[in-house]
Symmetry: D2
Subunit: 284 residues, 4 copies
């Protein structure tokens, strides 16, 4: 049988029995169809398939299937080989924004996917640099904050080489288009329409009024740490790196890589619906 | 003497003696230098120069000088001939965001301008259509609201031909890049960086959470009036048109015309500074 | 049979057949039990019971039953005799925040109510004065705004005799405790816990940052109109009065009257639940 | 000479030469007038007056003078003996909200104060309990947050014994009246008027809409940690205590102690003015 994909990688959260069970089932299912399957090493250990283990960074496969919530996707995204294989995200737990199918639909969906009956939705990722060091690309956002809870961070914001503003806040988020519906939104940032090539800088708990700013994705945004001496950069909620020891400036711009997701109904607003945008009540 | 401009139009608020006085002074000054000067008809009446009167719509001049605040500029902008001549904005009253020079600097600045010592800053305008009828282009924003104070407006938002969301709110603002610092900001919208080609839709007092959405300037945004039967569209705070009698849908997109302003220091963020973005206090 | 109530008033929206039908059914039901029933005059006309008509202002009855949404309750509240009889609110249409029972439960609930099996929930109302003239008490809020859409209102806020702040905004809301979940909330105001004796002043679309202020219900708050010359005061979304002709100042304080509602589960937060406070999604 | 105060305590930031210099000058000045002066131990070391050292907790003096910013006051407040002596706050650095006088006015102000020419402004403090353990009273706020940056905290809010709401956010602030102008404000909380006996619960970056709630100061508010297992409680930005090991619930209520400040112009709104409430610009 002809299939579009020959080699598939599997990632699953390992703290949920159901996720492990589904991973095993999917592996058999795919192998029965003649595909090669690699497992992320921790998953391989948990389902006792050591020979199929392959580090994510090396998974130059045709498709990666994730079983878990948005957290699983974001963690996976931080370690993807470049260019990034498409992700088919099976939701296990609370329904996420990035995931596409329920566990019950998993096998059927995978078959549909193998037949090519899907669309690829591509998302711009953000690359960030601290001096010469490049951090993992962010699917959602790059966040700078103080190590100490509720400690003010004093920063200066640069667009290309123009000093745009200074900001005293708990932290600063730079979010991608798809990330605009995540942490940035909690901080008061706008939703970015999928057709716009932009990112948004959103202060978290600014001391004084500081409005989110939307930049063209052609711009480079830098955040210069003025005070205190150290801070921490968090990429997609999971990757952390200290800032301030030798380098006081974080540069964020559009990555040359994109994330791509297998979708069967490629509508950003349908996914937002019921969560963010549609009315749920009545003013008195 | 060589001058870049041959024909200049003058607009001034007529409720301020100082504005009228400055208008007369400028007129003499420009005529002394050999330029032709036209006056907006109401101004012409007030300074008793009926022969120089010319309707704004017909002022196909090389430069329009406005004496007043941002309101004067916005009102002028609604009636500009196409393509729009550049505006030199002299501030009379509270310092505005769009104005450039103080009355004291007026003559000197005009001379500098005549010598070509300036930059032209161009702003995207928004065109809006109710069925076949095109409203005046907006420099700042198009706003739909109910006639009755505090009455909920129920609308459906379309991007191109996709229904994006429904909204119950006091009104909906669609703001241009430069307009993002105006009414939209009061409604919780973000600042749009001058390098981005985008506009922002901001609900005013939404009944339930409804985040501002930033669209590419290549998109067309439509607002469909669901309830009540009638509403009013306000362009740049001054032009009003009723909605709902024969047409239930307002379409907004990037205009083919731009506004251009004479600037001597073309920095958007410098003008924002001290007003919106820079810290003014200290958290306890 | 002994019943707690002898005389009942009925109010219903007249634009919904179901509401009229239920009104007639309730009237028979109550009369069968030996109670006297009065109908609000417009309702009396619609159900052809002219002899039972009585103006709301004169309905010094033991209980008023409203059939409709929150709008019906608010309009009724504006014309209640003093002290105010308790209201039993039957919901007809979109479920409201103030209403208590569904049409299907109506008869059963009324019987339960007649037996005294309920709690009375009392809400503080706001009285407001323009000079010597007292406006109808507000259950939810008093709102000052400009007549012209999107026109800035410049006001000075007084607490007792202290000038608290000046505000440039589309309008100013002063909301009661129960009204804190209404229009004020849309403007960014906080929720006031039912145990607090307070009200909240919330600016609508302030030009520059202006935070809502919570005042003790022992204080008097005045709003002085600085600019433009005229404005409109809206009480509970339905009553309007012009401001500025002879009187430039609106004084708001706790009314000596309270509204009371028949409740079978007197929990403010249960009603808020699912609407405002409980999480409905997952951050990415 | 008669003076109202006999024994004065001195606290100063020790990282600013000017603060130390002023502390020494004040000490001499006060001793010349016959008063006894104690120094906070770290200050005593820095100005080499070991014999005058006395721990803040033991400073049962008539007046405490602080030299520094709001941070100095908040740190001092955490260690005050009970009942708390009044504080005269001299500002050294950026002008704070709680401080009263400039260094240049210091001597003159102290003399004015010794003569009794002042008003005492009293602020309600918040006491908080983790099980049996009482944390230091907060002048501004109690804050619960995750140890890990940008990690969601899932909590349940209780008022007295009613579960009010669940909240997923970066953290939860409970602020006093005076603290309502501090961190809570950055999180979108309202200003509480000085005449109101209340506190406000403000979520920091809630995942989904969660409005600040204002409670009567007669209520007890508890925050129950649902997820993750551990969190940190921060009192007034400086005192930290871990939460979740043996105790999952933090109880906050009005303290029996108040903070009192020497003021020469007891106006809350005057201090807010120019910082928070008064307009600083013009809408376009």
């Amino acid at each position: 049988m002809f299939t579009l994909f020959k080699v598939v990688g599997l990632v699953a959260r390992v703290d949920e029995k159901e996720a492990l069970k589904l991973a095993k089932k999917l592996m058999s299912h795919l192998e029965d169809k003649g595909l090669s399957v690699f497992l992320e090493p921790r998953l391989a250990r948990h389902v006792k398939k050591a020979t199929a283990a392959l580090r994510l960074e090396e998974m130059k496969v045709d498709l990666i299937i994730t079983i878990g919530g948005d957290g699983t996707i974001l963690r996976t995204g931080l370690m993807m080989p470049k260019p990034e294989p498409p992700i088919l995200a099976i939701n296990m737990g609370v329904r996420g924004f990035l995931t596409e199918v329920t566990p019950a639909e998993a096998l059927e969906t995978v078959d549909r996917c193998l037949k090519g009956d899907f669309v690829l939705e591509q998302y711009t990722k953000l690359s960030s640099y601290m001096g010469e060091v490049r951090l993992p690309d962010a699917l959602n956002e790059v966040f700078i904050t103080s190590y100490v809870p509720a400690k003010l961070l004093h920063t200066r914001i640069w667009r290309d080489n123009v000093a745009v503003a200074e900001c005293q806040s708990d932290g600063i988020v730079v979010a991608s288009q798809v990330g605009s519906t995540g942490y940035s939104l909690s901080g008061g940032g706008p939703v970015l329409d999928p057709k716009i090539d932009a990112f948004v800088l959103t202060p978290i708990c600014p001391l004084t009024t500081f409005h989110p700013i939307v930049f063209s994705a052609k711009s480079t945004v830098s955040i210069e740490l003025l005070k205190p001496k150290k801070a921490v950069v968090v990429v997609d909620g999971h990757y952390q790196m200290q800032m301030g020891i030798s380098e006081k400036r974080l540069m964020v711009r559009k990555s040359e890589y994109k994330a791509s997701f297998v979708r069967f109904d490629g509508d950003f607003y349908r996914r937002l619906k019921g969560r963010l945008l549609f009315p749920r009540g009545e003013r008195l």
